[in-house]
Symmetry: C2
Subunit: 302 residues, 2 copies
């Protein structure tokens, strides 16, 4: 299929490469052109100079950018996708953004006969590279079916949740789980360490009991190596937490533990951890407990 | 071995039965005598009228009661174990209590030539019945070794963490993980439900991704059936949360998300959920979100 891939960062880059490897005809665009160039170097994809140029003669536009404002720019700016939207054009948006904004974007595209599916992903950078992402999808059934060959090139599984925006709602609920699983792990670790229990002992206990989780299995080795290089940057998790709390407020839902986690992440970002992995929240708790020097590895230095 | 088993409730009852089944000579005592009687009916264990009587001619005293005050009563009351403590007597305490209090109890027993090992358990009622508990142990190595035949009669695994009190520190850190994993699950579920995502869909996504956890695997089916009968009563989880926060304060550790969870559990207890399973915290969040009528199944009514 002819695909325009807009946004070739940590997740989008390897996703676009996997589309090319699966035989699709891919044109990439990225706000910072150098990152689009990396994809061209890796797999020979064409590079476009604007979202509109990339989308002009494609059937599918795939978006993977960092936030609601970035999707808005890609779709609605003067050189955006909406300008070339036409019947048959299908936009798949893998960005984690506001569900309500996504519903509005879908409505704008439908006015031109095009359509939009929200299809945020889970599986981290590693899953993106391995083509093992999981897509959580909201939109019209026939549009979701059209995307099948592309989903299977980049991922291992598709959960079709319901109408527009519902993929995003489920994705936000997922990241809420991740943030709180990790928060419990980090607070537990600090408590245990203060009592003389070692990280390795806690990880063994967690792995052997009902405390085991995919999150700690994945993050545990990084924690042991004190490697806080961004895999899922803290700033992006904080952005997602804001989306969750916005959606909660709009829908009169009280999420008290998440509100506290939002405060902790805000402090962490202010203290220079925004570019580190969200797991670096542990270093802030350790600092508060007087346990270690903070100093996660600066991201840019690696 | 000759064992006095003190405290035959949800966990202690099946633990004592498993000791008898493994061929040990067990005398049981319980504050509410009827529960000790149930163990006698189930397996023929003798029933004693006081902790001291139960412990008088035993080599090992196993304790499994609900809180620090109950252990203090069992050990230090006029008819308590300390009165019959002598060289060679070994007390194994599976209650989840204050690590510092446990260290003090150990010191009192050592003055009489006896010893104490803290060996809190994990694995829930179901694990106690199946003899598949996991013991998290603090104390002297030689005392822990003496308990080996009893550990293996009741459990599947023993983690020897370090000196006295360290089993308890690790256990508190474990329950902190459990409380926050479940909190994330519950807050995520309420958010998702408000956006039209069904519980079954969230459980499927969780099971297929790095969000999967032993906690949600275990609790998921109960949540789907809306069965909040106490397996791990909310009041006991709240008691453990207080122990965590006490230990944190004593050691100058800040546990912000846990503090918020403590507030939520306190409200839940005030609203009549103390006797329900801790999973009933979900019903409180649902009520706050206007999602369902609260009404978990009253525990005593079943």
């Amino acid at each position: 299929m002819k695909v325009a891939f807009l946004g070739t960062g940590i997740m989008g880059g390897p996703m676009a490469v996997n589309l090319v490897k699966a035989g699709h005809d891919v044109t990439v665009w990225n706000r910072t052109a150098a990152k689009a160039q990396l994809v061209q170097d890796a797999c020979g994809a064409r590079v476009a100079i604007s979202p509109a140029e990339a989308a002009a003669d494609c059937q599918i536009v795939w978006i993977c950018v960092s936030d609601t404002a970035a999707v808005e720019r890609v779709l609605l700016a003067e050189d955006g996708v909406l300008g070339v939207a036409r019947p048959g054009l299908l936009v798949a948006d893998s960005s984690t953004i506001s569900p309500v904004a996504s519903q509005n974007f879908a409505a704008r595209l439908r006015e031109r006969g095009a359509d939009l599916v929200d299809c945020p992903v889970t599986g981290s950078k590693r899953g993106a590279e391995a083509g093992e992402l999981i897509f959580i999808v909201g939109g019209k059934q026939e549009s979701i079916e059209r995307l099948e060959p592309l989903f299977s090139a980049m991922g291992q599984r598709v959960f079709a949740i319901g109408g527009n925006g519902m993929g995003l709602v489920a994705k936000l609920a997922m990241n809420l789980n991740i943030a709180l699983i990790f928060q419990g792990f980090a607070e537990g670790l600090v408590l245990a360490e203060k009592g003389g229990v070692r990280v390795r002992q806690m990880l063994e206990i967690i792995g052997a009991t009902m405390l085991r989780s995919g999150v700690v299995e994945y993050k545990g080795p990084f924690i042991e190596r004190r490697d806080f290089t961004a895999n899922f940057p803290l700033a992006l998790m904080l952005k997602d937490i804001h989306l969750m709390l916005d959606f909660a407020r709009e829908n009169r839902v009280k999420l008290p533990a998440l509100e506290t986690v939002e405060e902790i992440y805000t402090v962490a970002a202010e203290e220079g951890l925004a570019g580190a992995d969200y797991a670096a929240i542990l270093t802030l708790l350790e600092k508060w407990a007087g346990l270690r020097s903070p100093a996660p590895t600066p991201v840019e230095a690696r």
